[in-house]
Symmetry: C2
Subunit: 328 residues, 2 copies
């Protein structure tokens, strides 16, 4: 009997967990929905049933869960994931709290499913911007070996949760933002997550560090600039890649198209390229504007788009759980 806890069930990603689970219908016998005391007690319609959201407490995992999908912020994960793990529940955590821990696999199922083999009941879901990037980069790294990456991102407001979304919607009417430090409507903010002493944001360092960990290659040189743009759903990324080895551009496009989880949208004669409004609501990673970078010996420019709440968070976590269920 497989019992699954949804922790943070009323948040932006939590609600998407429920939607994706309804769509994918993994082989689960029972779900229990948890949230903080603030949201506990509310009713959520899920799988044709009304669920009362329970308050997350230190005893929540005593009843025995197989898996827990966490998306309730780093502090909740730091406190409750070890409790769940100690009671035999495998936590798939969407926060950044555990991602860089040595014993915690950081997994994108299309990219490094083998990393699920050994874990201590905590598995981390990578950062949204990283997930879509590594899906696109994995087949290219395997074949041409990546030397250096320059990331510039165009990230949707939903990545900052419900209030981020509302800040854009309210901003249209001139309402000042509550989540972002400045208006996001009609603006770009080169600022996602906290600033660090080295001048980078945490978001930028996540992209650098998590790419290394997921691709199992710390020798890849990476830099990143992450930017919030007035888009509701769907992160876009301008990715400049330099390889050690030469490539044929048409073959490289096929390498991408043949990789699971990627849809190549690259027919510029017919104005076909990835856009966030098309990616929204889907689980694929869209790659386009694929063209040789003439400024280095072996380089390529990519434009990579995916739904940040689905593939960038909820769908990836559910896919991890499905992989684990397969292996049971």
């Amino acid at each position: 009997m497989i019992r699954v806890a949804i922790v943070g069930a009323t948040g932006m990603v939590g609600r998407m967990f429920l939607k994706v689970l309804e769509e994918k219908k993994p082989n689960v016998d029972e779900y229990v929905l948890f949230a903080s005391s603030r949201s506990a007690g509310s009713t959520v319609h899920f799988m044709n049933k009304d669920y009362i959201v329970e308050e997350l407490t230190e005893n929540s995992f005593d009843s025995g869960f197989t898996y827990a999908l966490f998306s309730a912020g780093g502090e909740t994960s730091l406190k409750f994931a070890p409790i769940a793990a100690s009671k035999g529940c495998t936590v798939i955590d969407n926060s950044s709290a555990w991602r860089m821990e040595k014993d915690v696999p950081l997994v994108v199922p299309e990219v490094n499913p083998g990393d699920l083999a050994i874990h201590k009941n905590i598995i981390a879901n990578p950062n949204c911007s990283t997930i879509q990037a590594v899906v696109a980069l994995k087949p290219l790294h395997d074949k041409y070996k990546i030397k250096r990456i320059v990331y510039s991102t165009y990230q949707a407001v939903s990545g900052a949760g419900q209030q981020g979304y509302m800040d854009l919607e309210d901003g249209i009417k001139g309402v000042p933002p509550k989540k972002f430090p400045y208006p996001i409507f009609g603006n770009c903010l080169p600022h996602i997550d906290k600033f660090l002493d080295n001048g980078y944001t945490k978001e930028e360092m996540k992209m650098i560090n998590e790419t290394h960990k997921i691709l199992h290659d710390d020798t890849i040189k990476i830099t990143a600039t992450t930017v919030r743009v007035p888009v509701f759903y769907g992160h876009s990324e301008s990715i400049n890649v330099e390889f050690y080895n030469d490539f044929d551009l048409d073959t490289l496009k096929k390498d991408l198209a043949n990789f699971p989880g990627i849809i190549v949208k690259d027919d510029i004669e017919n104005n076909i390229y990835p856009m966030p409004i098309d990616a929204a609501g889907t689980d694929e990673v869209y790659v386009g504007r694929i063209r040789r970078d003439f400024s280095v010996d072996y380089g390529v420019n990519l434009w990579v788009v995916a739904d940040n709440i689905r593939k960038g968070a909820a769908s990836n976590a559910v896919q991890i759980m499905e992989k684990l269920i397969e292996k049971e």
Copy 2:
């Protein structure tokens, strides 16, 4: 007596010519406003006077003009700039038609004013995205010598003219776009200007070629990805730069701050960084997020923002005219 023709006076950039001229009050004795037959006959209030916009014809320059500020599209420039030039009028052209011609200086007054010394009565105003980039790059190239640039842009809809602007405004209400091939509200379009056979857009190639021409250095390796974002005014650019020579980061920030036309906004502890909503309505180029790129020996990441209709078009053209007037 200095007589100035404004060609395309009713367009997005044309109207900004008038606004900037009213602000800067260059030493001009008389203005005549021209537009296509479609807009001719309309009345424009300018310099406390009502001007009747005249239709641009092959005889328009017979009355003798010292300067003409053109912003009426490439075809109009190709046809009428040589006519004006042949009659002794110095044309400052905002279209891309003449920029890469050998005898046509391509000028950003802070960067390469010396190029104004020799011309054949046609001077080109660079592409909006290029202008702000080269202002930021010039002091760094002079001091540390640039090896390679990776541009990723976040460009405002006003760069596509009045209908581009309206597409964003109307898009909020769900009205389909007229200028752009897809909705721009809540979206990003990795597509500015036409696609070329090499997979790049004309906008991307403009950034590459014009940077070479303005900085007088074709050896700089450059690649670019240009993207339209739902911002009304103000282009933003993520610029990754690799140098031949090492630098001290604090000194480099001062190099930028000391360069004319640049305002460094880079105080991350207080969330101070450039944003399009702040740059809009001003003539400066704002540089922030200045940080060492650890993925190369000597590299830096910059976030560069400027008003694309002012510094990126009208103000730069008027500044060119002011330089020419100074020299008379």
